[in-house]
Amino acid sequence: MKLIQKIGLGVFLVALFIFNSLLFMGSYQLTEQKLKQVTSEQSFGILKQELQPMLGKTYSSSFSFASAFNKYFNAYNTRQQENEQWDRVIWDDYKFAATKAASEGFVKNNRLLLLLLTIGLGTFGALMHILPKYRNEPAGIKHNGVMFSSNKSRGIIGITLGVYLIGIYVMLYWFPEYMVNWTLLVDPLSRMLTGGPASQWFLYGTIYTLAILVMGVRMFRKYRDNKYQLLRTSSVMFFQLSFAFLIPEILVLLNKPWHDFKNIWPLDYTFFFDYRVDSMLSSGSIGLFMFMWGILLIILGVPLLTYFYGKRWYCSWVCGCGGLAETAGDPYRHLSDKSLKAWSIERWMVHSVLVFAVVMTGFTIANYFTGFELLGQWTNNLHEWYGFLIGAAFAGVVGVGFYPLMGNRVWCRFGCPLAAYLGIVQRFKSRFRITTNGGQCISCGNCSTYCEMGIDVRWYAQRGQNIVRASCVGCGVCASVCPRGVLKLENGPEQGRITDIPVLTGNESVKVFS
């Protein structure tokens, strides 16, 4: 590693340290005025009373503040529930907003400086580490030492990072009030884009996008002689920055519903939820367009594009989950399990999630038309469970937190219902395949090792068989790392695509049916 790269890494770690320590800085004090700003008029009246003991009191951490807030808040709600005063229960969640409003002192007063010192400096350090990579080295595959790296091979660093990421996700989904200081940093950016203060989701979106962009630059360095990888990476960077980050926030600025035009049901599992449909249908022509476009993607976009190009058009060129996996997750791609057993678990799991999503959506739509007479409570339960299990725990905590433990596509492989849908099309009606180059395979195993979807590519290649697998996201890395030029992703006639009885080229003595 060059000196400048080491400095870059050091700078990044310093920034990361400062970033984490922010969570423990400043003090928290809620006043009546602040409370008023973040609550509805009706709730304010109640909470003013209930929270009286903590108003004006200074707490030294978000943890103590949030637990006090919870104590009083829950006490009130429990009382109402016990008395069956359902209409007086406060259903809105003010924890995050109240904690954020209460945060005072160092962080709040130095937002810009701290933004620069954390996210700014972190980005700078990361780029300083990444940009000089492979300089003065001839272009080629760069996997030297991957298996010796503690970070990339489930060593102490990898496991620590995994635990850290899991922690962050748990906080993000279930305890956002602990990370209000982070959201304060991006408030100015949020006000600029959306006109409002930053939620934890805005913060998440910002960092997520930055991660894709910065690690995308890493991909540019790593694959600088490989046009397929360069184009694909540019594509996910573009879609993340514009479609997933900027456009939705600008829509909010324009008083339209937040909408990611490239997100497709059932990955976008709330698409048919009543509040989403209502907000789209009540937002004029643009809302109507959102709705129609979303449906069009499901019934035409997915099958047609997948027929022509395979599921890669989405999974490794457009999708945000795929975008993160292909950039930030790239160092971990070899950690996927290639065993036959993992494949069978994968098929069960991913298709079960698809069924779950379809059933849930079916209920939702049926209910929508029956005015929630039928199974209303059931549907709500389904929504909650799906959101908890699949939307948060699986897609978030496991999906990203497990990068350094089980590879970068755990979610895409085992959990994503859209991937399951795309995969069914790809397997049964598509022109996409990975062609095997006759008898040239030497069974070295690079392709299988670096397949993030855990496909045992070599199994096919060494018997001269084309690879047609539902899960293949067409990242093209197997073809890039193959030292013998055996694999080629291509779209072509359906005839001869699937070779059930492959014949290895080269031996004329016997027709070898592998």
Binding site: S149, T449, S509
Partner: protein, 468 residues
């Protein structure tokens, strides 16, 4: 039993249902033979004895383990349950003696093993030419998994390494050492890298690339002796020119030869390798040899008598498995093919491209201005028939050339179908026009690629056309 066996002499092999087929060697040849035999014959007992590793692994991937691209487990082409499921018994042991009369094997650590049919797939071993000091610690070849472990141990504190011998394993060893930031001096006896196989332009292209990686490539230099540090470790080499190069590791990669010490001085007929006929039968009934260790009594047309590559080992295994299960067919490989990778540059060859040629053979050579890609076609001046093709930095389609060479394709036909020969990934620069122009300029032809119509390119965009 005895009677039955005698009756079978003269036939190809014992065909009884419960025959015990023992294969020595779990490399690509032995394993392919076992797998295919099992597919065709469910009743035979099949045992594979091998001393190197318990399971079949890919020898060609040894370098990647050292470089940290893969772990040993990644190089195993089949999961460990595969063997039992297919009733292939594995014996992890060394065979020390074969009694061809009694049809039994002596093993190093286990009991005698009886066989009805014996397949020898013993592989190769690195050549050593009796250099003074070649037995020192830190001096070794690279063939087996044990060699890799030794190399790992010998290079932990190595400040300079020397690799001797400019072949495919030599360049791999140099690349391996480089991946650990160990400076490498590469002694190559020939005037250009691997120019006993490659024509001079290709040899120079690879030579340039080796130097680009800061490998100290010494062409036309030979090893004289290896010096010791007083404790039995290497500390320098001396070249024939008298130069002393201090180093802590020496890789000797001057070719391999059949690993036949096990069968030397037995009734088995050997030369450099174990002599076999076109069905892989040796002079002893029910004993066969395949892979690197086999030597054809009469080589197939255009082939050498010993073929030491992965693909041929595999094809031997396929063919012998067929012969043990059905009416024997002679070994008949299709057009020669091979591939390798020199650091970052991939190499593929189809048919026969020799390092030198004579009329009526002539050559067409195109090289990209960046000096890292090239294409060569060797063909007959009069019949225009292509004899072979070399490609560096460009991937070619095996199926295309396999058929084309069998159908005696002409060089002009190849030129007009360049887009069909290409196997590079999508979006890569194609060089068809440049190559064609160079060809037209050299041979005064006016060949053209099929015109790409507007309609067709729209279809191509939709994925309807795979090539160009």
């Amino acid at each position: 039993m005895k009677m039955k066996e005698e009756k079978l002499i003269g036939e190809f092999c014992i065909r009884s249902k419960a025959r015990h087929v023992v294969i020595i060697g779990n490399g690509i040849a032995g394993i392919t033979c076992a797998r295919h035999l099992r597919k065709r014959d469910s009743s035979s007992r099949i045992t594979i004895v091998s001393g190197e590793t318990e399971h079949f692994f890919s020898r060609t991937a040894l370098m990647y383990i050292y470089m940290g691209h893969m772990k040993y487990a990644h190089t195993k082409p089949y999961e460990d349950w595969f063997w039992e499921k297919n009733r292939l018994s594995l014996l992890h042991d060394w065979v020390t003696l074969i009694d061809f009369e009694k049809k039994e094997l002596q093993l190093k650590g286990q009991e005698l093993l009886k066989y009805d049919i014996l397949v020898l797939a013993l592989g190769s071993k690195p050549n050593l030419f009796g250099w003074p000091g070649q037995e020192l610690k830190g001096v070794q070849g690279l063939y087996s998994y044990q060699d890799l472990q030794n190399m790992e141990a010998s290079t932990t504190a190595c400040e300079r390494a020397v690799v001797v011998g400019g072949g495919l394993i030599g360049i791999e060893m140099a690349e391996m050492l480089l991946s650990r930031h160990i400076p490498v001096t590469f002694l190559v006896r020939e005037q250009e890298f691997w120019d006993n196989v490659l024509p001079v332009e290709e040899a120079q292209l690879v030579g340039r690339h080796i130097r680009e990686h800061h490998i100290d490539l010494r062409l036309g230099e030979e090893l004289d002796k290896i010096q010791d540090d007083g404790n039995g470790n290497v500390n320098a080499i001396v070249t024939k020119a008298g130069e002393e190069i201090p180093c802590q590791f020496v890789g000797l990669t001057v070719g391999v030869s059949p690993n036949i010490s096990l069968v030397r001085d037995t009734q088995l007929e050997i030369n450099k390798g174990i002599l076999v006929n076109e069905h892989f039968a040796t002079n002893i009934p029910n004993v066969f040899a395949i892979g690197d260790c086999a030597e054809y009594r009469t080589p197939p047309p255009l082939r050498r008598s010993i073929e030491q590559v992965w693909y041929t080992g595999r094809m031997h295994g396929e063919t012998l498995a067929h012969n043990l299960a059905h009416e024997p067919v002679p070994y008949q490989p299709g057009p020669w093919f091979n591939s390798a990778k020199f650091l970052d540059i991939e190499y593929q060859t189809y048919g026969l491209v020799t390092n030198k040629w004579e009329e009526p053979l002539i050559s067409f050579y195109w090289e990209h201005p960046d000096g890292k890609k090239c294409l060569r076609l060797l063909f007959d001046k009069n019949t225009r028939q292509v004899q072979g093709v070399n490609a560096f930095g460009i991937r070619l389609r095996h199926d295309f050339f396999d058929k084309a060479l069998q159908n005696n394709i002409t060089v002009e036909q190849v030129m007009e179908q360049l887009h069909k020969t290409n196997f590079d990934p999508e979006f890569y620069d194609r060089h068809y026009e440049e190559i064609l122009q160079a060809f037209n300029a050299k041979f005064g032809t006016s060949l053209r690629l099929p015109v790409k119509s507007k309609k067709k390119s729209l279809l191509a965009l939709l994925g309807f056309k795979t090539h160009r």
